[in-house]
């Protein structure tokens, strides 16, 4: 099961079972609803953007351990970052999904998802939250 262990590292299971930033804001903020029509995963992402900075992020959704842990990590990764920085993070995440070695000094948890690149059927699970992030930033801009 070693290849499986690559996929389901402890960090991933931790984010899956104890999700960070899970929930909704009371106030009116940018909200992106996205789903994977082929598999039924869905995410509702909320971003609080002020002065070009992602001040806070929350999400709710339904999906597998990969999609939900990725959402938890994504919200952790982009909180407090400038819009450009957040997009740069998303770009690095995409590269990692293509199997490239990418540096994540700024949020190391995310590297746990590098194993997903070996499971082509699951890349769309891991990418859902990041696609929502890009959409949210587009809507804000």
């Amino acid at each position: 099961m070693s290849q499986l262990d690559d996929l389901y590292r402890r960090v991933i299971m931790d984010h899956y079972k104890t999700p960070r930033n899970h929930g909704k804001f009371d106030e009116d903020v940018v909200t992106v609803d996205l789903n994977n029509p082929t598999c039924g995963d869905r995410i509702s992402l909320q971003l609080k953007v002020e002065d070009g900075i992602v001040q806070d992020a929350r999400y709710t959704g339904e999906g597998c351990s990969i999609s939900m842990s990725s959402a938890s990590m994504m919200t952790e990764a982009v909180k407090g970052k400038g819009i450009q920085e957040a997009l740069d993070f998303a770009d690095r995440f995409s590269l990692m999904m293509k199997g490239e070695t990418v540096d994540f000094d700024d949020y190391e948890d995310i590297e746990a998802l590098s194993g997903v690149s070996k499971f082509p059927a699951r890349i769309k699970c891991a990418s859902l939250a990041w696609n929502a992030l890009r959409k949210g930033i587009d809507a804000e801009a």
Partner: protein
């Protein structure tokens, strides 16, 4: 029936996936192909390939004979009264869309009804939903019982004199229930409606007799019954097909083309515009030969036994939820493991060489009814064995432990 022996006929099953012998339990999505089907298509392309119904040359005749020969096999296989009632299509989806697009608008007006169920696959759902929106007809649903079954009584309560079309699956691709088609056909006809049957999940697994069912239209796909992808069948009663307008215009389907109007060929050709799916039909014909050699009765009996075995083995697993009725005659089990998402189940199973489906199975309305956003599904066919089910059960227990 010796499934180990049958397995030998399927080259693809003789391989390892992720270091384990492949156990293929996703035949409801698409079935594997026996050597006989692959060889028949290869032979067609290597020896007989030409366009049909036009060439004067020898290859043209051979190709035409092969194509029309396949049509005769299909007609016999589902016991259609006439070969002209067999229209080759791209698959079940196209077949159902032809009925919805051509027959639908000719009989429906505001206030008329289309009756379906919430268990339908999207391909027997959306065409009717969109037809209702287009024509102003009302879309109605025969309510499902708590266990997922459709009863004759509920069908009787739903179908009225305003109903023009009733469309229902013979077998559900999620819950494995077999619907009472014959009785529903009778109810539909008493109210002056036609019955359209989605036969995608029934035709591969049981003996089908469209005259005995007395359905007006019946659609199925080749690839779920050991044939190739890209070929399917629309059966329709001649009297209905004859008055229906063609959907696709072009070569092959015309009688006489004038500058300002044209006339169409007789059945079934007016519904087969363009160069048809010749090699696909040849492959489907070979699949029918293969299934008939084993015997549809034998296949059905084998699957019924294996389905009962699978229900027994999977029910033993703690924390499993199985959807649909406890008793089933069709080899299809849809389930969820507590606290493990079906994608994760499917990935862990795949790492043990076991292929199952995870997702909504093209049945979002049914998923809502089941209150599940996604489920896992193991589906069996003639080549599966008890040993396959044992591997599945063991891997599911492992999956639970892995995520515990």
């Amino acid at each position: 029936m010796n499934s180990e022996w049958i397995k030998e006929h399927f080259p693809i099953l003789n391989q390892e996936i992720n270091g384990h012998p492949l156990v293929y339990l996703d035949s409801a999505a698409t079935a594997q192909k026996p050597r006989a089907v692959i060889e028949a298509m290869k032979h067609y392309y290597e020896w007989d390939n030409a366009n049909v119904h036009r060439g004067v040359h020898t290859l043209g005749s051979r190709a035409t004979d092969a194509y029309e020969g396949a049509r005769e096999k299909v007609a016999r296989f589902i016991n259609a009264a006439r070969t002209q009632e067999i229209i080759f299509t791209r698959g079940t989806t196209t077949a159902l869309n032809i009925v919805a697009s051509s027959y639908g608008p000719s009989v429906l007006g505001e206030g008329d009804e289309i009756v379906i169920t919430q268990m339908e696959h999207h391909s027997n759902f959306i065409p009717w939903q969109q037809l209702a929106l287009r024509t102003g007809a009302t879309l109605k649903f025969i309510p499902l019982q708590a266990d997922g079954n459709v009863t004759v009584e509920e069908a009787e309560n739903t179908i009225t004199s305003r109903t023009k079309i009733v469309a229902i699956a013979y077998v559900s691709n999620v819950m494995g229930v077999v619907n009472p088609i014959k009785q529903i056909a009778d109810i539909a006809h008493r109210h002056g409606a036609v019955l359209v049957v989605d036969g995608a999940q029934s035709t591969p697994h049981m003996k089908v007799d469209v005259q005995d069912l007395d359905c007006d239209f019946y659609a199925f796909s080749g690839h779920k019954m050991c044939g190739p992808t890209g070929i399917g069948v629309l059966y329709g009663k001649k009297a209905l097909l004859e008055v229906m307008a063609p959907i696709e215009f072009g070569g092959e389907m015309i009688d006489d083309v004038g500058l300002y109007d044209s006339t169409w060929k007789e059945l079934p050709y007016k519904f087969e515009g363009g160069t048809p799916i010749i090699a696909g039909a040849v492959g489907l014909g070979a699949a029918i030969d293969f299934l008939e050699e084993i015997g549809m009765d034998n296949i059905e009996r084998h699957e019924t036994e294996l389905a009962a075995y699978a229900m027994g083995r999977l029910s033993e697993i703690e924390g499993i939820q199985i959807y649909g009725p406890r008793e089933r005659s069709v080899g299809l089990v849809t389930f969820n493991l507590q606290d493990v998402h079906p994608h994760d189940v499917a990935t862990v199973l795949d790492s043990s060489g076991i292929a199952i489906r995870a997702g909504h199975h093209c049945c979002q309305p049914l998923m809502r009814w089941l209150k599940a956003s996604s489920t896992a599904r193991a589906s069996i066919y003639l080549y599966n064995t008890e040993a396959d089910i044992d591997r599945l059960a063991a891997a599911l227990v492992q999956t639970k432990e892995y995520f515990a």
